[in-house]
Symmetry: C2
Subunit: 304 residues, 2 copies
Amino acid sequence: MRITFLLFTMVLTACQSTKPRPDDVPTASNQTPGEVVAATTAADWRVIDPDNTLYLSLPGGRVVIELYPEMAPIHVANTRALVRAGVFDNTSFYRVLDGFVAQGGPLFESEAEQPALADGAYEIAAEFTRQRALPDRYLGFDQQDGYAGETGFLDSAAVGRDLDSGESWLLHCYGALAMGRTNEPDSGGVALYIINGPAQRYLDRNTTVFGRVIDGMAHVQALHRTADLTGALDPGEHNVIQAITVAADVPVEQRIQLQVLDSASPLFQNYLAARKNRSGDWFIHQHDHIDACGVPIPTRIQAD
Amino acid sequence: MRITFLLFTMVLTACQSTKPRPDDVPTASNQTPGEVVAATTAADWRVIDPDNTLYLSLPGGRVVIELYPEMAPIHVANTRALVRAGVFDNTSFYRVLDGFVAQGGPLFESEAEQPALADGAYEIAAEFTRQRALPDRYLGFDQQDGYAGETGFLDSAAVGRDLDSGESWLLHCYGALAMGRTNEPDSGGVALYIINGPAQRYLDRNTTVFGRVIDGMAHVQALHRTADLTGALDPGEHNVIQAITVAADVPVEQRIQLQVLDSASPLFQNYLAARKNRSGDWFIHQHDHIDACGVPIPTRIQAD
């Protein structure tokens, strides 16, 4: 039998290389990414704050989203308030374009339909970038790309930073949660969208990214694609959002005990180094580079 | 009504800007990508060679793949021969990892099960890169990234090029079709995989990319994700590949009359320029950059 069941598994689980490494390929680790993750201890994993966790209930299952209040405090607080008011329950993903975004939320016919909340709940201030310095636990990775002078990680989020101004922003990576708007910057509120294909980095600094799907993207991918840009859904292909809830509002025993590899952990740096230059017998070409949006953030179900 | 149906459409279909453009933002075009496409004529569109077109029949619908014989002649010829021998019919996608790849094809229990073909049909030579100069119609876009000295386009494929050696290769963008292998470079043959999430550029030059999905990725995304890296499918979640056929073998009236914006057309350069610096009233931040894998290749159904 020549064609084995393990053909492509090698990419992810190749054994540690026994070959000498070329001197001109810098790396902090001869481990594979999988080996780095296997070597972690409980201290390297982070439990997400249930106040900053959304459960998006779709017919296919539960999608878990981490929110980033330090990067977009207004969007996070506003979304949490709207979620608690039930604004997203029994709504839909009304515009799902393959390889681009799934956009959903309520479609109000009139302002009278909008639950009354604090001022501005439906036209909140843009938070395209953060002006202040990033929290100490931010991990800059000295990895510039065409869109940012530096990329790095803050919790489960991929971040871009302008090294001159110090301004930072969240990247439109696969699974990023952001807010749709009209031509007016301060016009967001309920038009949630999730990147469902290649990174859409040209949208960086043009909309507010304020969360990321950390589990359950397959359920987002199972949504019916809408026929065209006008968002018309074919009859019978309505993409129902059953509910969005804040994890903190769900009884503890019903929460998913999901942990995320802590980007502030030293092991995370090993993980990035292992991805930057892949070791193991499988890899032939090493790139000495990583694309911040190409780095999957490891998760696990809490062991205890 | 403040929350309009058009919220995010602006990204794709914003009207031509009436604002003066800053002098320091170079662009060949003040048009939006959509305006460039709307201004094309029949000469700007390319009909894909039916010999280089595969139809992948999934329960959700037909996936159309363009093959690139100039970049991977052995893989294209071998796959076409295996397709014509029916090797992929009634097989499955047995490893589908969200945000990574869908891998499928036959899983032979023994060599006796393998249809006899030309020597090497199941262990073909690696074609990770092309050594010869690229065809004249290749469009280099002077857009380096961390993985390639230059990126560009050849037909519907995104290409990377080493400017010193002249070596070129196809990029692991969303929708790319490539060949799984064991640790041996020349071990591919039937383990097809399709990138179903962010670009996996670290795989560039490590496997042979030889095609790209140009229509129907939503059907690939609708596949059930497999539970883990061993590829075990949950019972009842078998991702059937009904058949793969070469379009040339299908009666003309049953073919999809799909056209692709020709990357050798001058309009394609306008399209890239329009994506590099997005115009229109919606965009606030322009990046003067494009990620080759973030460029969707426009397609249309043949008008006549």
